[in-house]
């Protein structure tokens, strides 16, 4: 069977399962502490934002210097 469009279920259904597990562990696992669990999510968002902001900045600098 030819299945060209597998990406969505492969990535969100299988590959990211460990991420869902750890997030559930943070929020449902004991000891519970909503503030710290949210802080963990905040750290993750901050790190991802730093990564993509860096990439955007680099694209911008490349545009100025080499075009």
């Amino acid at each position: 069977m030819y299945v060209p469009f597998v990406g969505t279920w492969l990535i969100f259904g299988i590959v990211l399962l460990p991420v869902y597990t750890l997030l559930l562990g943070w929020f449902i696992g004991k000891p519970r502490n909503l503030r710290l669990s949210l802080m963990g999510v905040g750290y993750a968002i901050g790190v991802a934002t730093a990564l993509w902001s860096g990439l955007a900045l680099m694209s911008f600098i490349a545009r100025i210097l080499f075009l």
């Binding site: 990406g7 990535i11 460990p18 943070w26 000891p31 710290l36 993750a44 210097l65």
Partner: protein, 464 residues
């Protein structure tokens, strides 16, 4: 020679008549233990607070190499892809990917293996490797940056990278392994960064009075909202992260999404096949153990950290490297036997070309040699040497880079539908400068970071 020493071996007279330590001697031993902890902590803090001329010299040298790296990159951006040792298939007589993509897989493998070391320490309480756990985490983070640099250097229009990715997300995740790769690298970088930030909170708080005052704004930011009561919950959160990462990194990233960039291409017999996941993973793990060994050895030599990174840590790293090297060799055997015994035409051509290539033996030979030495060292402990273990680690790391680059170039050189003569490839000075530059990004990173944060967890320094 390595010998696992028990603490206070040979001090039996200290014991009382019932085989227990007398109160007086127990007090003395506790005092000695406290002194050991203080000495190890002092050793780490000394490096953070005192700076010698050699530090500035290394900093200058690393910056000079990075300046060269930026020059090479700007040269490529100015004059275009023509300056690389690459070319089109067919009439172009070349291959479209080479050292940069090989370097990408190499660094991303080191990153995935690095966090594996740390997660294994946390989940399975592997005390011998605990001293190098944070170094492995920090290596994972910078190795990902270096891996992404490999991709960015390969791109012709750097200015379009951000818009070209964001414009297709998340739609193209449906069908593009490249977009899977971007998604997963982002996830992995995010998790690794979060993991390090969470584990740093306690350590920075405990040592805050002793850390450089100049950096106090950074430490305030890193410990924002910290309360000593949070340690139990944060430790549990980090445990959950370790559990997630130990499945995500080896099985689904370096044994999954990264090899799928290649293993899903039936037109390229050198890339295609279900065994590519395990092959990639084995090389990633062995190179990560190699890098951690080399970095720990350099720290031990330069900062005189024999007590922080004891012989037992290197013995554990050597054993881990030995088993992962064996795994590499076993999987190569699988590839080669299936490639030479009645294979499909394309697979047969690729395997023969690989086995006849000097590059392949330059890649696999040092891994085999390191395995033999590490196995002998394991069988005959008198052969153990920290220095030689580090050399074995370095050999393995360099060998994996060669193997990965050859995998890319030969995989493209020998497509299944060959219409023209085989292409040729040799890395250009720009590509070699790119690899050198990423290595010195790591050098600069560790030179600086050892001044900013404790590179060994305080709980490890406290352990007996």
């Amino acid at each position: 020679m390595y010998k696992e020493r028990k603490p206070f071996e040979g001090h039996q007279p200290f014991e009382g008549s019932q085989g227990r330590l007398t109160h007086r001697w127990r007090g003395t031993l506790l005092e000695v233990e406290r002194t050991r902890f203080q000495t190890k902590t002092e050793n780490v803090l000394r490096v953070m607070t005192k700076t010698s001329g050699r530090f500035y010299l290394l900093l200058l040298f690393a910056l000079a190499v990075l300046a060269w790296f930026l020059y090479a990159w700007s040269f490529k951006l100015t004059y275009g892809e023509i300056v690389l040792g690459l070319g089109d298939w067919g009439p172009g007589g070349g291959v479209t990917w080479g050292l940069f993509i090989g370097m990408f897989i190499w660094w991303v493998g080191i990153a995935h293996g690095g966090i594996l070391v740390s997660a294994a320490v946390r989940l399975f309480n592997m005390k011998s490797l605990a001293p190098v756990a944070r170094i492995a985490e920090l290596t994972a983070l910078v190795a990902l940056v270096c891996a992404v640099t490999g991709i960015l250097m390969q791109l012709g229009r750097l200015d379009r990278v951000f818009i070209s990715i964001t414009s297709v997300l998340p739609r193209a995740i449906q069908h593009s392994p490249l977009v899977w790769d971007v998604t997963i690298i982002t996830t992995y970088f995010t998790l690794t960064g979060t993991y390090i930030l969470l584990t740093l909170r306690h350590d920075i708080y405990v040592l805050r009075q002793r850390l450089p005052r100049l950096l106090s704004p950074l430490y305030r930011l890193l410990t924002i909202g910290y309360e000593p009561e949070e340690d139990e919950k944060v430790e549990r959160m980090v445990w959950w992260m370790a559990l997630g990462l130990i499945i995500l990194a080896p099985l689904l990233l370096h044994g999954g999404v990264i090899p799928w960039l290649f293993a899903l291409l039936p037109a390229m017999p050198g890339f295609f096949g279900p065994v590519m996941g395990p092959v990639f993973l084995s090389l990633a793990i062995v190179s990560a153990f190699g890098v951690v060994t080399v970095i720990a050895y350099i720290f031990r030599r330069v900062h005189k950290w024999q007590d922080v990174f004891p012989d037992s840590t290197f013995a554990a790293l050597a054993r881990a490297m030995m088993f992962s090297a064996l795994l590499v060799l076993w999987l190569q055997l699988q590839l080669n036997v299936t490639g030479v015994y009645a294979p499909p035409i394309g697979v047969g051509r690729v395997t023969v070309a690989k086995l006849e290539s000097v590059g392949y033996w330059l890649g696999i030979g040092p891994i085999a040699a390191s395995f033999i030495y590490l196995a002998l060292q394991s069988l005959f402990p008198r052969l153990f040497s920290v220095g030689r273990t580090a050399v074995a680690g370095l050999l393995v790391v360099l060998a994996v880079l060669v193997e990965k680059t050859l995998f890319i170039a030969e995989g493209l050189m020998l497509p299944g539908f060959l219409l023209y003569e085989e292409g040729h490839y040799f890395p250009s000075w720009v590509e070699i400068s790119g690899v050198l530059g990423t290595v010195f990004i790591v050098v600069l990173y560790f030179t600086v970071i050892v001044k900013l944060i404790p590179v060994i967890e305080v709980r490890v320094l406290e352990e007996k």
